[in-house]
């Protein structure tokens, strides 16, 4: 009798722990993906800020390693409408952990090319 009880308890425990482990593994995977996505967003935002500032030369393409993941960031600024507007594009590409496939994030915006009055007075 004791053996049967022990076997049933072990089976319940085993099944439960397998389920919990699966869920934990899935959670870890999601957390990893989420972190990579957040890092990619920060990298894209950083590049977009650089393009918007129009003051510093922004690197066209660069590879960045963050927490063991290699991100490839590309920036592009294309003039439009008589050169009064610059279309901005930033893409960040990385290999998602576990999936093995490339993941890509692409952001678009525009910046005005109208000169900025930098005098001391303001209206």
């Amino acid at each position: 009798m004791a053996l049967i009880e022990a076997l049933i308890a072990s089976a319940v425990l085993g099944i439960g722990l397998v389920g919990a482990t699966q869920l934990t593994l899935k959670t870890l995977h999601m957390a990893s993906q989420s972190r990579q996505h957040t890092v990619a967003q920060h990298l894209a935002q950083e590049a977009m800020d650089c393009l918007h500032a129009q003051a510093l030369p922004c690197p066209g393409q660069e590879a960045i390693q963050v927490q063991g993941v290699r991100y490839t960031r590309q920036t592009r600024s294309t003039p439009r409408g008589d050169g009064l507007i610059n279309d901005l594009q930033v893409s960040v590409e990385w290999v998602a952990s576990g999936a093995g496939a490339n993941t890509r994030l692409e952001w678009h915006s525009s910046a005005s090319a109208i000169p900025l009055w930098v005098g001391v007075s303001s209206p």
């Binding site: 999601m30 996505h37 915006s109 109208i114 000169p115």
Partner: protein, 405 residues
């Protein structure tokens, strides 16, 4: 006899309960950690959507600004489509117009819009563009705004001590005339104290002896105002060399308005009128471009919001309109009499506290009080930053902001 052991089955139940408890504990731990990660993921996606909406709003802002810059110097034509003003912008002085925003090639799912806002009384040359963007399917929306200097009205020249009366010709009083011309005074009181500037300034004096220079006698004969007409003193100034005024050189206009053109003032006046500004609104209307030849009977302008009245060449086609004897105008009055003295012959006015500018002489002037005021030119003097090229559209440094105002 074998003793009864009733606790044996309870051992199994306890073991099972402990196992189930452990499984529940492990499941709950996994569930809550999964939920926490899921929340993080949702927050991250939300942040990404918000960033994309903000970038789309920046794209809309840049597009609207480019449209304005492309349309300059006829940018006024853009402000014809009236729209609701953004929250917090209320009052008849605010003109709000919908702008055209070109779709962004990389953001086909974004809905972009923009509104240009300007204060038609204080700063019609500063347009604030409010842009907004929403991205379909993401439930995200963002706003951005930035101000531009737009060449709407040219800067007026700064004058240290503007004269009460500026002419492009000679002046004479009619028989029995009731005239008063008072310059700026050092104490700021009207027609008393020490004069701080000229009472009368002319840009054309007849060179009677044709020697090429203007003598004091010629100047005094040209500006023939009696001392009783000048109770506050002040000088009468004019050119020292003989000048031509035909074809009309608009010297009086240019001396006070600089490069401000008829079209600019006309557009400004029309915009104020269309926006519902009148002498009774708060703030009151400040620019009046008058094409009607009828006499003017309305008091306008206050010390805080002086007015500019321009009687155009069309209004002065036959003779320039008179101003009612009881009318009080605080600000500037310009009469475009086109260097034709006859259009101003026998002219009459009420009280002008500021400056009177006449593009001709004032022969046989009958009545009027001209009292110079420091704020007399403020209606058309816009606050352009020093050193700015006022012929180009430029963004105002530090004016960019995002979110609701």
């Amino acid at each position: 006899m074998t003793p009864h052991r009733p606790f044996r089955p309870q051992h199994g139940a306890i073991t099972l309960l402990v196992a189930i408890g452990l499984v529940i504990l492990a499941s709950l731990t996994s569930f809550y950690s999964a939920r926490s990660v899921l929340m993080d993921q949702l927050a991250s996606h939300n942040h990404a959507h918000a960033s994309q909406a903000r970038l789309a709003a920046d794209a809309a802002l840049a597009s609207a600004q480019a449209w304005i810059a492309n349309s300059s110097p006829n940018a006024n034509a853009l402000l014809t489509t009236r729209t609701d003003c953004p929250a917090g912008v209320t009052g008849p002085q605010w003109q709000c117009s919908a702008m055209s925003v070109a779709p962004h090639p990389g953001l086909p799912q974004a809905q972009l819009s923009a509104t240009a806002v300007r204060d038609l009384v204080q700063s019609p040359h500063v347009w604030t563009v409010h842009a907004s963007a929403s991205i379909a399917g993401q439930n995200s929306r963002a706003q951005a705004r930035e101000s531009l200097f737009v060449p709407f009205v040219a800067p007026a020249p700064g004058l240290a001590a503007p004269a009460a009366l500026v002419l492009n010709g000679c002046i004479s009083a009619a028989t029995g005339a009731s005239l008063r011309v008072c310059p700026l005074s050092s104490k700021g009181e009207a027609c008393t104290g020490t004069a701080k500037g000229p009472a009368v300034q002319t840009h054309f004096v007849v060179d009677t002896n044709r020697n090429g220079s203007i003598s004091s006698a010629e100047k005094n004969a040209c500006l023939a105002l009696s001392p009783t007409s000048l109770p506050g003193g002040g000088s009468k100034t004019g050119p020292s060399t003989a000048m031509q005024r035909s074809p009309c050189n608009r010297a009086a206009w240019r001396s006070v308005l600089g490069d401000i053109t008829d079209e600019q003032l006309q557009a400004w006046s029309s915009a104020q009128e269309r926006n519902g500004l009148t002498a009774q609104t708060t703030p009151p209307r400040s620019i009046y471009w008058i094409d009607s030849p009828g006499d003017w009977q309305q008091s306008v302008g206050t010390a805080d919001t002086p007015a500019l009245l321009v009687f155009s060449a069309q209004a002065c086609a036959q003779r320039c309109p008179r101003i009612g004897a009881s009318v009080r105008i605080v600000g500037s009055v310009l009469l475009d009499s086109g260097c034709n003295d006859d259009k101003m012959r026998g002219w009459q006015a009420g009280t002008i506290e500021g400056q009177l500018v006449v593009e001709s002489g004032l022969p046989e002037w009958r009545s009027g009080s001209m009292i110079a005021r420091p704020e007399g030119r403020n209606a058309y003097i816009l606050n352009w930053p020093e050193g700015i090229d006022a012929t180009r559209v430029q963004r105002v440094n530090g004016s960019w902001s995002e979110g609701t105002p």
